[in-house]
Amino acid sequence: MLEINNLNVRYGAVEALRDVSIKVGSGNLVAILGANGAGKSTLLRAISGIVGTASGSIALLGSAIGGLSPEEIVRRGVAHVPEGRGIFPDLTVKENLMIGAYARRGRDLTADYRKVMQMFPPIERRERQFGYTLSGGEQQMLAIGRALMAAPRLLLADELSLGLAPIIVKQVFAKLDEVRKTGITVLVVEQNARLAMKFADYLYVLKYGRVVMQGSREEFERSTELVDAYLGV
């Protein structure tokens, strides 16, 4: 689905990503672990076209998407659940979902809208409320629903667990697992290694912008101490 080779991203003098290569197979859930500042969000932003890349390649289903506009990348099937959820505070829940389909505007979206609503009952009840009135957990569900409105092939999810109570985090990840079961490939970014290891098929660890470890879930489960050492916990 997604193949990234030797990706470098800089913010001025800061080298946020250095020679990062990752692969995400179709239908998989892949997790990127890393401490704060490791470059996880930057990686997702580079895939989405929000930050430019200095060198390296990003390919989606075999065709290069590096350098395309964010709009074109969404249209090709990449949806982004941003860090901190990024709910539009003064748009209603319905509008927040519809904006997820902005790149598909003009098509008939009623069936997709109904499907997403059914997937998130707590959101359905709040259809007409403004985004800012929702709780953190509801906002996270809404942010996932909004991404699904893009009808993505690949869903990027940035630190879904951030600032949420453990029980809510569990619910959110259960939803993400549901999403994956509908055939959508998922790439998540997490600081919480235990959580990610429960759901991911394959994992990477980023440190100072470099991939320092990778492996299947089983391999990661056998080396939890090493993972913890990399994450500094």
Binding site: E71, D90, L91, M98, Y102, R105
Partner: protein, 290 residues
């Protein structure tokens, strides 16, 4: 008497509101306070004058073309002046609009000189409209109808169209809006185009009574900002109501207190509101963090 003063105030307020709405659309979508909004409208009005006097079009032919010119002018200015500044501090763009203000004024002065022109209006000599026993001048009715039409059309556009939804998203969180596929530079161009269009309508409607010269819009721009501050610069309806209130207050104070004071009321309102309620009467303080 008082009814006439109120109607006259509402008509003036609607003209302030058009400039105010032009400013607020650009401000909310791009974070740029466009101090050149008035001069852009002045240039559009001179363009309409040129169509009327040199090309020889009728008012009804010239005005739609001039309004379209206002839109195109806004988009071109955004592309040439503002777009290169996307990503640099907002202050640079605001200073650029101050510079643009001077440039447009000088260019208009070079082309049209600094004398005063009479701008025609098809409504100037029509018999007043009677609402009950109150005679209302037709040009006042036209200003009020145009003001209302702009508010309704803009609200509809922002609320019920895809482009409008994208603009609102871009104004609330540009980065996330980009992730959804909303182009920020296109949003900014649309905002500037709308600003140019709406400001141009104000210029064309105000020119018959103020006479046309290169300083046509300077008072209106200040009053639009004052009405905007009064109503809250974050909401279009707030700006509209704030400008109406300012127009009526000016007229009433001018008649019952002193004509000189009618003008001063603008500044008294700006300062009083900024001290007592900086978010505007209809504004709401943004304290939440999402």
């Amino acid at each position: 008497m008082i009814a006439n003063l109120i109607v006259g105030g509402l008509a003036a307020g609607c003209l302030y509101a058009m400039v105010g709405i032009a400013i607020v659309v650009v401000l909310n979508i791009t974070d740029i306070a466009n101090f050149a909004q008035g001069e852009m409208a002045m240039v559009t009005t001179f363009f309409a004058y040129w169509l009327l006097n040199s090309v020889g079009l009728t008012w009804w032919q010239a005005v739609p073309i001039a309004i379209l010119f206002g839109l195109v002018q806004g988009v071109i200015i955004q592309q040439v002046v503002i777009r290169p500044l996307i990503g640099s501090p907002v202050l640079s763009a605001i200073i650029a609009t101050l510079g643009l203000n001077i440039v447009l004024n000088s260019v208009a002065g070079l082309i049209w000189g600094h004398q005063t022109y009479t701008f025609p209006s098809p409504f100037a000599f029509s018999a007043p409209f009677m609402i009950g026993s109150v005679p209302v001048p037709v040009d006042a009715v036209v200003s009020i109808m145009a003001g209302l039409a702009i508010v309704v059309a803009m609200t509809w556009f922002l609320r019920f169209t895809w482009i409008g939804l994208g603009l609102r998203a871009a104004s609330q969180n540009p980065t996330v809006a980009r992730m959804m596929g909303v182009s920020i530079s296109r949003s900014s161009a649309i905002a500037w185009g709308l600003g140019g269009l709406i400001g141009g309508i104000a210029g064309i409607l105000v020119a018959p009574s103020l006479f046309l010269d290169t300083n046509l819009m300077s008072a209106l721009l200040i009053k639009a900002f004052a009405g905007g501050v009064l109503g809250g610069l974050h909401s279009m309806i707030g700006v509209f109501l704030g400008c109406l209130a300012l127009g009526v207050a000016e007229n009433l104070v001018g008649a019952y207190v002193s004509p000189a004071f009618g003008e001063a009321i603008t500044f008294i309102i700006i300062i009083a509101v900024l001290i007592v309620r900086p978010e505007g009467v209809f504004g709401r303080v943004k304290v939440r963090k999402v």
